[in-house]
C-alpha cells in the first residue's frame, strides 16, 4: 500500500528526515513512534504531498506522490495533530464540506456525513456547532472528516492528544474496528500503549532517522536483557546515576524529577543487592522497587537514551 524509499528532507541546514525507508502492507496497522521533533509529522506531510521531499521516493499503491499527487490524495485520509475544522459550523456541515472537497457531491455527501457521525458516535450532536464540543468530541469529528471519502489509507498524527479517557477509548476502538474492516492505518503517537494496542508493526523514529522497525515481539527481543528496574527514591542525585551505570549489568539509567530512576539491565543476573547497597552509600532511601517486563518504552530508552515524552 505504502512504500517509502530513502526519503530525505532538510529545512535550510537542518536535516529533518534522513534516509527513512519502510513499507506498509494493505490492511496493516503500522505505528510510528518518536518524541517531539523526531520527524514523524514531516514524514506524514511528505506522504500526503503537502511537503515535497528532497531525495528518495514515496509510493502509494504504486503511484509516486510527487508525480501523481491528486490520485494519491483520493486514496489517503489524514487526521492532523490539531483540530482542523470550522468551529462556527455544525459537525454535519463540517463533514459535508470535507466530503465535497474529496469529490462527494449532493445528497451522497449528507448521507455519508451521517454514516461517519454514526462511526464516531456523535449522531445526536450533528447540528451542533463544533465550538460547543468538548476536546474529545472535536477529535472524533476531526477523525470523521478524514473518513468521509472512505480512504484506503488512514494516517493519524497523534489523534488522542489532550483528551479525556472516554473519548480516547472510543477513538482507539473506532480505529481498531476500521483496521479490522480492511482499512490500512498509520498511527503516530507519544503513547506507547496506544501503539501497542493498535499496531502489529512499529517503526521508531528519532532525529529524523528510523532507528528500529518490526513487530512488538521482535523489537522487544532486541533489548539486551530487556528488563527494567524502576526505583522510586528520596533525593536522587547525579552521582548516584553515574555510579549506577558503573555497575556491571546496568546498560543505561534515566532519572526523573519525581524521584523515579529507570535502570536498564543488560543481563538477567541479580544485581539488586548491589543497587540497594549503592543507594545506602549515597544516603538515599528507596521507597519502592519494581521490575518491569521488556516493552517499547524500554526499547526506546535503550535506543535513544531518553523517554518518548522527553
Amino acid at each position: 500500500m505504502l512504500s517509502i524509499s530513502n526519503i530525505k528532507k532538510s529545512f535550510g541546514h537542518h536535516q529533518v528526515v534522513n534516509d527513512v525507508t519502510f513499507e506498509v502492507q494493505k490492511g496493516e496497522a503500522f505505528g510510528l513512534l518518536g518524541p517531539n521533533g523526531a520527524g514523524k509529522s514531516t514524514t506524514i506531510s511528505m506522504i500526503c504531498g503537502l511537503i515535497p521531499y528532497d531525495e528518495g521516493d514515496i509510493q502509494v499503491d504504486g503511484l509516486s506522490v510527487q508525480k501523481k499527487p491528486m490520485k494519491i490524495r483520493e486514496k489517503i485520509g489524514v487526521v492532523p495533530q490539531d483540530i482542523a475544522l470550522y468551529p462556527t459550523m455544525s459537525a454535519l456541515d463540517n463533514l459535508v464540506f470535507w466530503g465535497k472537497m474529496y469529490g462527494i457531491t449532493g445528497r451522497r455527501a449528507k448521507q455519508r456525513a451521517f454514516e461517519v457521525l454514526e462511526i464516531v458516535g456523535l449522531t445526536d450532536r450533528a447540528k451542533d456547532k463544533i465550538e460547543t464540543f468538548s476536546g474529545g468530541m472535536k477529535r472524533r469529528i476531526n477523525i470523521g472528516a478524514a473518513l468521509m471519502h472512505n480512504p484506503e489509507l488512514l494516517i493519524m498524527d497523534e489523534p488522542t492528544v489532550g483528551i479525556d479517557p472516554q473519548s480516547r477509548n472510543h477513538i482507539l476502538e473506532t480505529v481498531k474496528r476500521l483496521n479490522e474492516e480492511g482499512m490500512t492505518i498509520i498511527y503516530t503517537s507519544h503513547y506507547m500503549e496506544e501503539v501497542e494496542y493498535l499496531c502489529k508493526r512499529i517503526g521508531i523514529i528519532d532525529h529524523g532517522k528510523l532507528i528500529a522497525i518490526g513487530d512488538k515481539t521482535e523489537l522487544c527481543n532486541r533489548l539486551a536483557g530487556g528488563h527494567v528496574l524502576e526505583l522510586i527514591v528520596d533525593n536522587p542525585n547525579v552521582d548516584l546515576l553515574v555510579n549506577l551505570e558503573n555497575i556491571e549489568g546496568v546498560e543505561n539509567t534515566n532519572g526523573k524529577e519525581d524521584g523515579t530512576i529507570e535502570i536498564m539491565l543488560s543481563d538477567k543476573k541479580n544485581i539488586l543487592p548491589e543497587i540497594i547497597s549503592l543507594c545506602g552509600t549515597h544516603d538515599i532511601s528507596i521507597q519502592t522497587i519494581q521490575i518491569k517486563e521488556p516493552n517499547l518504552e524500554s526499547l526506546f530508552l535503550q535506543l535513544t537514551g531518553r523517554t518518548l515524552r522527553d
Binding site: 503537502l50 490520485k71 490524495r73 482542523a84 468551529p87 459550523m89 456541515d93 465535497k100 472537497m101 469529490g103
Partner: protein
Amino acid sequence: MKSIVVAIKDFSIRINDRRAFMMMILMPIVLTIILGSALKGVMGDSSSAPKTIIALYQQDQHPLSKQFVQGVLENTQLKNSIVVKNVYSQKELNQFIHEKKADVGVVLPKNWGTQLANGKTEPVTIKVSDGKDFEANFVQQLTESYVKTTNAVTASAKMVLSDLASQGKSGKELKSIGAGLTNNLGKEAEANASFVYDKPVGKNQVSSLQYYAAAMAAMFLLFNAMVGGKSILSERANLTLSRMMISPTDRVSIMTGKFLGTFLYTMVQFLIFLGATHYIIQVNWGSNPGQIIMIAIAYSISVSGLSMIVAAFMKTEKTADSLGGMLVQVLSLLGGSMIPISVFPETLQKISKITPNSWALNSFTNIMSGTSWNSLIIPLCILIGIGIIATIIGSLRFRMISN
C-alpha cells in the same frame, strides 16, 4: 467546482456571524444618516456651499475684481451660503477675524484684476478664523476656480483676437469683438464658480445623503478586503488550509474559492445596503441600476483581490486586524468616504486616484447625477484591473510562502 464549494462555505460562515453582519450593514446605514444630515447643505442640497461670512478687503477696483465679488461671492446662487461684509483696512479685517465676526477674510490686492487680465496671478490673501478651515478651503477653491477660468478666458480671447488681426480687421472692430468675447466668456467663468464644490458630471446635483450613502458603501465594502484576508490567515492558523491542500483539490481552486467567497459576500452586503438605503432612508442611487450593479461588481473584484494581498503580506489575523483596519481607514479618508475629495489639496486629490474606493465612490456619485456608460469605462477597467493585479501579486506571494 471545488472553488464554488469553498466560496459557499466561506459565505455561509460569514453570513452566519450575525453580529459581524449586522455591524457591516447597520453601521454604514447609521453613518450615512448621521453624516448625510450633519453635512446637509455642503453639497448639492438646498445650496452648494457651507454657510460662510466673508470679510472682504477689496484694494482693487478693476472690472475683473468687481466681477469676482459681484458675480461669484455675491452670486444669487450662493446668497444663502455666503454673506460678504466689506471692510476698508487690513486692521479692520484682522479685527473681524479675531472677534469672529467673520469666518474668512479675503484681501484682493491692488492690481489683482489688471494682472489677471494679463494672464498673471497675484495671490489673494485668505485669513481664517479658528475652526473655520472648511469654509476657508471653500472660499479658496472659489477664488482659484475664478482665476483659472478667467486665465483660460483671457488666453482664448487673445488667441481669437490675434487670429482676427492677422485677417486684417481694424483696431475698432477688434476692440468691439474683444469686449464682447471677454464679456461672454466672463459670464461662463462666473457660472462655473457656482459649482466648484462637488461638481457632478450629470444633470442632477448629488445631495449629502446620496454622497454619504455612496461613501459608506465604498468604505464598508472595503472592509471586506481585511475580512477576506483574515479568513485566509485564519484557515492557515487553524490548519484547515493545510487540510484542504492535502485533499485532491489544487491550490488555484482553493484560492479562487477564497476570492469568490469574499466577492459573493461583498456583493450581497452591497445589495442589502443598496436596498436598505433606497427603501428606508430614500437614497436616490440614480436612474440606471445596471450602472450601479456593474460598478459594485467591479469594486467587489477589486476588494476581493485586495483580500489576497492582505493574506499574503500579513502574517497573523491580529496583524491583519490592526494594520488592515488602519489601512482601510486611511484609504477611506483618501478616497473621500469621510470628507469629500473636493476639499482636499490638489496633491491629495491626485493621490486619491490610486485608491479603489475613490473610483467606486466617484462612479456611484456620477451615476446618481446621471452619467453615461462611456464615462464609466475607465473606472470599471481600473477597478477590475486593481482586482486582477492584486490577486496575481497575492497568489504569487502566497505560493512563495506555502513552498
